[in-house]
Subunit: 317 residues, 2 copies
Amino acid sequence: MYRKEIRVLDCTIRDGGLINNHQFDMRFVKEVYRAVAASGADYVELGYKNSPKMFSPKEYGQWKFCSDDDINRVIEGVDSDIKVSVMVDVGRVDLDDVKPKSESPVDMIRVAAYVKDVDKAIYLVNHFADKGYETTINLMAISKAVDMELNEALHQLHTECKAQVIYVVDSYGALYQEPIEYLVKKCKKLLKDKEIGIHAHNNQQLAFGNTIEAIMHGANYVDGTVFGMGRAAGNCPLELLLGFLKNPKFDVRPVLDLIAKEFIPMREKMEWGYIIPHAIAGMLNEHPRSAIALRESDKKENYREFYESLRDGGELR
Amino acid sequence: MYRKEIRVLDCTIRDGGLINNHQFDMRFVKEVYRAVAASGADYVELGYKNSPKMFSPKEYGQWKFCSDDDINRVIEGVDSDIKVSVMVDVGRVDLDDVKPKSESPVDMIRVAAYVKDVDKAIYLVNHFADKGYETTINLMAISKAVDMELNEALHQLHTECKAQVIYVVDSYGALYQEPIEYLVKKCKKLLKDKEIGIHAHNNQQLAFGNTIEAIMHGANYVDGTVFGMGRAAGNCPLELLLGFLKNPKFDVRPVLDLIAKEFIPMREKMEWGYIIPHAIAGMLNEHPRSAIALRESDKKENYREFYESLRDGGELR
């Protein structure tokens, strides 16, 4: 697949950090940055820009906050044009923490929001756009969105929002190709002057396939993570995405080296990937929290009971 | 997805046996048979019907040969309508080993063949059909087939072959959704009175997605294996397939129990799944043999060198 408009964003540190409270050391983050930059990816997302007033820096690592100083330390000494992204959650950012783009190493701010919070997301994005950043809105848990609410949100995004890119985010890893096609086509139709992005989760081993599907229907911003590292089942593996995209600017080899050196040992200590309770949560279109809790309990392989409880109403019963 | 014509075939023992020379003990095979039967799958493939004159029973387990006696021992005492399949390779079967269907517990014989060997496959299939068996031809390594040869083979299958089903087999795990769509549509067009099947390999985490893709374009025979167990990267996970198919006759829970009890421990001893050298072989559309050899060597994580050697001609250099 070759289309010159396609932009690859690596969010290994940001989404992977959801497994370990963003407690990656500086050496590791620099290794990831260096390899992803060498691979030809367009953006690298180094974490969240959450407010340290809302999350304790004792409990969370520095990539939960992404100070400009920390980002400068990551990129220092690496000769690359790759752009730096950070993510912001609705309600968890202090706008005073975000300097004008001209004073910051950050290029892009992505605002993650549920469809119901789209007004708040638009407010944030327009603020960041006015400060000079590239911006996106990432519509989380879109597999749970009611069609009428989604239509209204997309209409608002079309008329009121300065973000260049709107992402379809399958947070629950629940979507098959047909709904991906439906959602990407809908977004393209209602958001004529914006690009569409895709961020997939891998609960049902569909993150890469769904990313391809979204590309086929016109999505130009695609997220991947090294070795698929990310919360719960993880994400679309960056290395597979780079193998699929035929633009000669991409080179999978630095990512292969990084996996061998850093991610094979790390996978022994941190859990992500194809794990049956996460597959079940995806099948049943549920938030990963119950499966994560199960994996931390002494019932981690008790699949049948987990399936039945989630199918029949989960924690609410 | 619901379509009453869809038939699910579990080939865990047959394809998984390619990892361990089919040395599964009778207890394990009975457990698989029992769970797959309880899941509502339509067929269970218990191994190859290879000739013991061509492979040593000392080196290979009994599921390489699938005597009627062994199959009878598996199914004995289990109340189920599930049909039994065995696979035959071109050139590796002694036709005298195959009794008439009326004297055998086997329901279906699948003949695996490269496109170039389609004449030999047709000869075998017609022989088995005349003995009373359901039959299929599984076109292996179809990602390497030249279009003109494939067209000619499909024409022969249409005019000369008694098999009810022709399978598209992505042996190398190299195909993306678009070529799957192309191949399934071509087969449907040229084989109007046959069903189309799909057997996918999971090198690039696309086995399930490609199986869905094939179903969307009309394939009605779909292969899965428990926990994706199969040669190299393995196959489409049966549990995901059952979660996707909405026919109420399917029940994923017996397969979940089987994974917890048998496959989680077995995965510690046998290797299959998402493994970077297998992903590389898939990306580059190459036979899994080089990646399997790498994994058995002391260079098992030497991804860059493997990628470059395979890309530049592999063993031929």
